[in-house]
C-alpha cells in the first residue's frame, strides 16, 4: 500500500510512522504534490501552532492540494483542526473541508486538555471494532465544535467533535498512534477503508 504522510515540518511524525510499522506498513513522508496525489492513503499530521502550520502549507502549495484529494485522508490533531473552516488559534482560516469551527477551551478547565478521554456517539467505519466509551489520548487547547459531520464526540467542558468525516476526508482530534489498542484499531480501520 502506498501510504504517505504529508510533510510540512509539523510535529512528531516518527510516532505515526512507528505506529504503522507495528501494523506492518511503511508510511513515507512526502511534501511532493505529485507523490501525494498518487498515494492510496494520506495522513495529514500536525502538532504546533495553527497559523504557522497554515503558512507552511501555503508555501508548499499543499493547502490547495489537500482539499482536492480523492483517496482516504486522515487528519490528526492540528491536522484535523486545519481541515475545518477556521480556528481561533492565531485567527487562522482553515482548508474548509469540515463545516465547523475550532475554538479554545475556556479557563474553567485546565488547558491543554491532556490525557485519556472517552469517545462516544461513534459513527463511520473508522470506528469499527471500537466501543462506545473506549479511551483515546488527547493533547489540545482548541476543539472543533460539534456538528453534523461529527463521527465521535468527547466531553471536556462541553461536548465537542473528537472525530469528523466528510466523504473521503477523516479527522481525529486524538492521537491514534499513542492511544494503545483502540488507537491501533482505528489506524487499521483507516488502512482498510
Amino acid at each position: 500500500m502506498d501510504l504517505k504522510i504529508v510533510n510540512y515540518g509539523a510535529g512528531n511524525i516518527k510516532s505515526i510512522q512507528f505506529a504503522f510499522q507495528r501494523l506492518g506498513y511503511e508510511a513515507i513522508l512526502s511534501d511532493n504534490p505529485d507523490e501525494i496525489i498518487k498515494a492510496d492513503k494520506v495522513i495529514f499530521p500536525g502538532v504546533g501552532e495553527a497559523s504557522s502550520a497554515m503558512k507552511k502549507l501555503k508555501q508548499s502549495g499543499l493547502d490547495a492540494l489537500i482539499p482536492k484529494l480523492e483517496q482516504p485522508v486522515l487528519g490528526i490533531c492540528l491536522g484535523m483542526q486545519l481541515m475545518c473552516n477556521c480556528t481561533e488559534e492565531g485567527d487562522t482560516k482553515g482548508l474548509g473541508i469540515f463545516n465547523t469551527n475550532v475554538k479554545r477551551f475556556s479557563n474553567n478547565v485546565k488547558v491543554p486538555q491532556m490525557g485519556w478521554n472517552t469517545v462516544r456517539s461513534l459513527k463511520s467505519n473508522l470506528f469499527k471494532n471500537i466501543s462506545e466509551g473506549d479511551y483515546m489520548y488527547l493533547v489540545h487547547s482548541f476543539y472543533a465544535e460539534n456538528c453534523e459531520e461529527s463521527i465521535a464526540t468527547s466531553d471536556y467542558e462541553l461536548e465537542y467533535a473528537s472525530a469528523l468525516q466528510k466523504d473521503n476526508f477523516y479527522g481525529v482530534q486524538f492521537h491514534p498512534e499513542k492511544s494503545s489498542k483502540a488507537g491501533e484499531q482505528l489506524l487499521k480501520n483507516f488502512l482498510e477503508l
Binding site: G11, N12, K14, S15, F18, A19, Q21, R22, V47, G48, E49, N107, K110, V111, P112, Q113, M114, G115, W116, N117, T118, Y135, Y137, V139, H140, S141, D155, Y156, H175, E177, K178, S179, S180, K181, G183, E184
Partner: protein, 251 residues
Amino acid sequence: MLTKRIVPCLDIKNGRTVKGVNFVDLRDAGDPVILAKQYADLGADELVFLDIAATLENRKTMHDMVLKVAEQVNIPFTVGGGISSVEDVDALLHCGADKVSINSSAVKRPELINELSNKFGSQCVVVAIDAKQIDGEWFVHLAGGTIPTDIKLFDWAIEVEQRGAGEILFTSMNHDGTKAGFANEALAKLSELVNIPIIASGGAGTIQHFADTFIDGKADAALAASVFHFGEIPILELKKELKKQGIPVRL
C-alpha cells in the same frame, strides 16, 4: 470524561533503569525498553524517562533508547534530563519522544520555556520542579535536588505557566523516597494557582496515596517509580481501586 493518569517513571543511567531513594543509593531495575513495553501493556497511561546522569557521552545512548521506546510503545512518553536547548529538544522529538521535561536549565534561563513552546508547542513542554519545604516555605532546588535556590515554588509555577509550559511535574523532596504519601497540600495549591495539568511526584507507597493525591491534592496525574518497578503496586489493581473510589481512570 478525562481520566487521571498513572505515570511510571524510569530513571535512566547509562541506558539502564535505576531508582534513587532520596535521590541517592541507586538500585538497578532493568532494561528501560522492556519495562516501557510492559507498562504500556499493563495499563500505564504515560511514561517518563529521566536521564539522571545526563552527559554528552551519554546523549547518544539516550537517543538510541528513545528511538527503541518510540518504536515499540503505543502510549505517550516524556524524556527529561540534561535538556538545555532547542536543539536538544528537536533531537529528542525526532527520535519519537512526545514531550520533554526541563528542570534546572529552565531555572537558569527561563526564556528556554518560551523558546520551546513557541517552536514545538506548549503541549510537549513539561517543566519539572523539585522543591523542598523549609520552615513552612517551599523552595525550588536544582540538579536533582542537590542545589538549593531562593526561588519560591508557587512564584516559579506561575511564571512557567505564563512562559508557555504545558504541564508541571512537581516533586516534593520532603516526600520523595519516603513512601509516606504525596505532598497533597502543596499540590492542591499549585492546581488552584495555575491552569495547566499538574503531575504529582514523590512519596507514593500505597494505593491509597494515589487516591489521596487525586482527591486531596487535585493532581491530574501521579508519577511513581519503585512501587511499580518492584511490583509492590500492580497498575491494574491500583486503577481498579481508584475506580471503586469514584476517581475516573482508564481501565
